[in-house]
Symmetry: C5
Subunit: 318 residues, 5 copies
Amino acid sequence: MAVPEVSREEQLNLESLTWGDLTWVNIEGPTERETEYLAQNYPFHHLDLDDCLSRIQRPKIDEYGAPKNYLFLVLHFPVFSKEAWVTTPSQVSVFIGENYLITLHKGELKPLVKLFRECQIDEESRQEYLGQGSGYLLYRIVDRLVDYCLPILNKIGDNIESVEDSVFSSGIHNAVRGISILRRDIISLRRIIWPMRAVIGSLEPKVRHFTKMDMSVYFGDMVDHMDKIWDGLDEYKEIIEGLNDTHDSLATNRTNEVVRMLTIIASILLPLTVVASIYGMNIPLPFQNSNYSLIFVLFIWLAIVGGMLYFFRRHHWI
Amino acid sequence: MAVPEVSREEQLNLESLTWGDLTWVNIEGPTERETEYLAQNYPFHHLDLDDCLSRIQRPKIDEYGAPKNYLFLVLHFPVFSKEAWVTTPSQVSVFIGENYLITLHKGELKPLVKLFRECQIDEESRQEYLGQGSGYLLYRIVDRLVDYCLPILNKIGDNIESVEDSVFSSGIHNAVRGISILRRDIISLRRIIWPMRAVIGSLEPKVRHFTKMDMSVYFGDMVDHMDKIWDGLDEYKEIIEGLNDTHDSLATNRTNEVVRMLTIIASILLPLTVVASIYGMNIPLPFQNSNYSLIFVLFIWLAIVGGMLYFFRRHHWI
Amino acid sequence: MAVPEVSREEQLNLESLTWGDLTWVNIEGPTERETEYLAQNYPFHHLDLDDCLSRIQRPKIDEYGAPKNYLFLVLHFPVFSKEAWVTTPSQVSVFIGENYLITLHKGELKPLVKLFRECQIDEESRQEYLGQGSGYLLYRIVDRLVDYCLPILNKIGDNIESVEDSVFSSGIHNAVRGISILRRDIISLRRIIWPMRAVIGSLEPKVRHFTKMDMSVYFGDMVDHMDKIWDGLDEYKEIIEGLNDTHDSLATNRTNEVVRMLTIIASILLPLTVVASIYGMNIPLPFQNSNYSLIFVLFIWLAIVGGMLYFFRRHHWI
Amino acid sequence: MAVPEVSREEQLNLESLTWGDLTWVNIEGPTERETEYLAQNYPFHHLDLDDCLSRIQRPKIDEYGAPKNYLFLVLHFPVFSKEAWVTTPSQVSVFIGENYLITLHKGELKPLVKLFRECQIDEESRQEYLGQGSGYLLYRIVDRLVDYCLPILNKIGDNIESVEDSVFSSGIHNAVRGISILRRDIISLRRIIWPMRAVIGSLEPKVRHFTKMDMSVYFGDMVDHMDKIWDGLDEYKEIIEGLNDTHDSLATNRTNEVVRMLTIIASILLPLTVVASIYGMNIPLPFQNSNYSLIFVLFIWLAIVGGMLYFFRRHHWI
Amino acid sequence: MAVPEVSREEQLNLESLTWGDLTWVNIEGPTERETEYLAQNYPFHHLDLDDCLSRIQRPKIDEYGAPKNYLFLVLHFPVFSKEAWVTTPSQVSVFIGENYLITLHKGELKPLVKLFRECQIDEESRQEYLGQGSGYLLYRIVDRLVDYCLPILNKIGDNIESVEDSVFSSGIHNAVRGISILRRDIISLRRIIWPMRAVIGSLEPKVRHFTKMDMSVYFGDMVDHMDKIWDGLDEYKEIIEGLNDTHDSLATNRTNEVVRMLTIIASILLPLTVVASIYGMNIPLPFQNSNYSLIFVLFIWLAIVGGMLYFFRRHHWI
């Protein structure tokens, strides 16, 4: 369990920090070479090391008692990938022991990358984060990543409001696409947050081992934040389903209005055509040669149009 | 834990009341200055003080045993904001100790503001509310705020009834908007009440510490009211979903009627046009010059119209 | 805890019956005067007496041990109000002690009113109902009221069947209204029965105190009936939701048929009009003056109509 | 608890079988006379005997310890009634004691009737079924009845497949009716099976008393079959709901196609009519008397038709 | 419990492998002859042997303590049958004892067949799989079969994406079919995976008996994979339901557009026809013989068309 030397670290795509007796090893983009290195230097189970590279993990905590005495965490946090326009889970694997904390991730989670940089550069923050045991460091890392979910949630909330506006305005086609994308986003986020809640909820008693102070309040606070995020997603899910229903109702109403307009126009104009056709026939017709015949025809037309309008008014169509 | 002096309180946007050994400190619109003041005078955890200012809280109870010996509550109550036409949660943070009760809120919850004013002005009510320990005072405050939710619930009930009327009347467009707004309102309220139920349900055993008498009946009553509100919201949710379905069914039926009308009109008038067009052709036609040709044509028309009407009657269209 | 005198009872809108050492006090339409009277004569908690008058109760059991030694029940049973065409809960508050049982209600629940009259008039039934302790009397009252729910359930079942018939017949508009009303009725009933199930399910061990014999079988039977009612409501809820879907599917199909009819008619008649219009033009036309021109035109028409019919037949439209 | 005499049995619509010390009494179509007879000969609770005749039962197990020492079961099994085209529950009430098993039913459940006949005629099967105690006999009866549900389930599966075919074929109206009937059938079956699962799941420990051998494997097998039936019903429910959605989507698409066809036809023919009408006017027109006027008109027509077709092609309508 | 001889095995459609004291018997396509053979050589319960042949099983674990001391597993894994285009469960029955493991299946599950072949041919893998006790062998077999589900899941994910594309493109009919088939597939898979999760989740403590090392980490990993598959199916279910809604919304919008187009065309052309018909009447008309009459008529037309276009523009129809 020796502190890894600087030279080898660079070869291995691996960086480390030390404060007192605590070392934080950060591995961005782990490959088999890094996990082999870990296998040689730490007492980790080979299944755990496989999980760090696997793509089909679920968030979980694996606890190993003495003599191994370490905790293996798989955590997932949402990352919005702009190319595919979807939210996907990004995995952070964490090994935590008495005097070390090892994080393996792809470097997609900015708060984690930033936190490590901060500790590299600034001695004060290194003391703040690493000075109180590996459990406290874990809390600070996870807390940052959890808080990182809130802007994602707020962005969804904003998108919902803009979709809601477009549902009630006339540009329909856009709204369907917007609802569909948002819905899928919310489904994905829920799938990421749901198992994370269970993991974070059960974290505190297992980490207690590695902390110098009572941290139940801190972890309780983190669980509250996680629950808040879940509540928000739940609410958004219901709202977006409601919006979908509202859109469909409005679309049905709009079709109704259009058809009503068509019926009104056809009902008024078709009788006129019929009357005109009658006088267009090449057969002997009454009043045909009278000078008042046009007035007579117009009178019939007005009677028909008036009757139709009265009929539609009574049926509340216009 | 000294009783705060009056002069400093005014500077700090903070008011206090004392009866016997119990002090009620009320902070409307807390800022960092107020929480700093609390941090100096009371043994509160700094995370709790942060929570008082944070906007992303969930209702919760944090219990601190001796020597700190206080309870920290975050409570949310619905407030209807008229500008945005939505129901939003308004937070009340409460610290309760042996001989003090501190409430922090934004002043949006009228019953709480009113209760404090009442105690300021009227000595009798001060005795009534503060004379039986901090636990009893908490009960009175929370009970008032819970009862304050009932008019909101009743208003939703009234709105549902008016929307129901508009669904069955002909003004369709309005109904969709009404249903959509009500649905969103109910979703928001449910999100506020749901976590509150859990908090209020677990309040009694934790407050027992701070009350001079057995208050289980009182708190039980409050839990019943909360459950009643939840039941009501649940019922309203189902009703509004049912109304949405009913609206859609009615809209489909209306479109059906309109299209049916169009079809009937077209089916009757188009054949007439065809017959008239035939006699409008500039070619030799039978009976063309007969004086009875018009009667002949009219007879054909009547036959077609009669046949169409019979056909539609048989298909139950008219 | 003296037996109330007859004279005062009449003033107080309160009647009582005694058999052995058991007194049944029945209060129809309780007001503050009656609850004050109870407060003076019995050791009841003032919150319970408030609950008897309150309109926002939930079914519940409050248990008070020695020295008060009584049970307070709030029970809700459905009553169908003919004016508003809705099912509403009617409250019965019951205080039960060693030698008394007090019922407070509005007189809307006929079985309870009838049962009391029966005991007033007929000594035998008084012995039957009151002769075995207050717990047994409670069982008889509640059992009657529970059984009273079954005809309501059956009526809903009948209504569902008649609505189902109207869904498959052609009178559409009626069906939507019927489905909507039934759905709301079922929602209301479920809201009444749901909390009642919990109360009645937990009644037996709490009443055991006040019964002379083992009544677990009797109460078990009552719980079964309650569960049966709940099962029925659950089934009806699913059926009515299914009926709503069926109605919508049928309405969509009907619109489809109507539009198809319109399309067929327009497709056949519009080409005819076009052909006729051609020969109606005031320009030199081929075959115009031939005697066979009409036959030529009719032949073109038949070809068009035949082609259209063949096309629609191939697309399974007719 | 004497074995009933043969003569009285026949009067009473009651048959019995005996093997060793075990008697199986089978009552088809029980009336009050039969239950009175049972009341006189067996130590049964009068509520249980009432339940045998009642129509509003739920499946349940009532256990009576010594000295009564019997078990009362109410079991429901689905029976498909051909007249009403619905699946209804058929009740079997069973009393089981140390040396007797009494079944009361309406004779609708063929496997039970057949099993009894088998034991009456064939001594070998009498030994097989009755030779190992009343608990084993109960297992054999219930197992037969449970297995009897599987063909019903399979029939529903077949019906779903034929409805699925008709959804994707063009005969729409039929499919709605089929979906509606199947849905209702599945709802009814679920209501029957759901409470039965609980009863059968809790049967084994209660029957243990009356069996000579360890039967946990047998009862476990029966519970598995029951769960399998429930799983099947659950799957069918989801499939039928999916089919309903599919039907609606297809119907919407079909309406869309029909309206598109109408629009295309109207868009092509109406301009033609307009052009023809122009040349039908009795006013001076250009080219009116030219011999090429028809060709000129036809050219305009072709231009309009071509433009329309190009427009629809670009919008992917044809 | 003798090791079966090779000669008899071949007659019996049964193959076996031995390494150390552990024998793996593999039966592809079991019939009554094979189960009879097992009944003679092993202490298996006859119900378990029946279950191996039965088609109506559910995944389960049956545990038999000493002296029988074996475990009977029924496992189901999804197999996609290309003929029927559906995913169906394929059963693997496993008997596991101290020194034997017997698998019975239909040979449809390729990974199992392949694994057995591997062990037959290659001594090294025989040592790897069979060298650590029957429990470890079971783990290796089940783990392979569980991992085999992942490609099926991924294929569904791919299909969902292609269906999603087709929903947003114009080929509507295809999308409905695709959604319907995918939905059914997901329902079937969920029905297979759901009971398997429970079985695999409870496997570890029961198998502990038959393993030489602590395998909780291995089985925990397998449970994680199973949960991951379930999560994926859950997500797919929600996505496909959302896609169905999206399709319906888009189809409604498309119908709306088509009807709008029809209404616009009819509204513009019908007035033209009417005006033309007027001047086609065989009665005295104003301006009839003027040379400017055509210009007059065209002017009226343009006014009507302009008015209509302005009206539709204002209603956001075009």
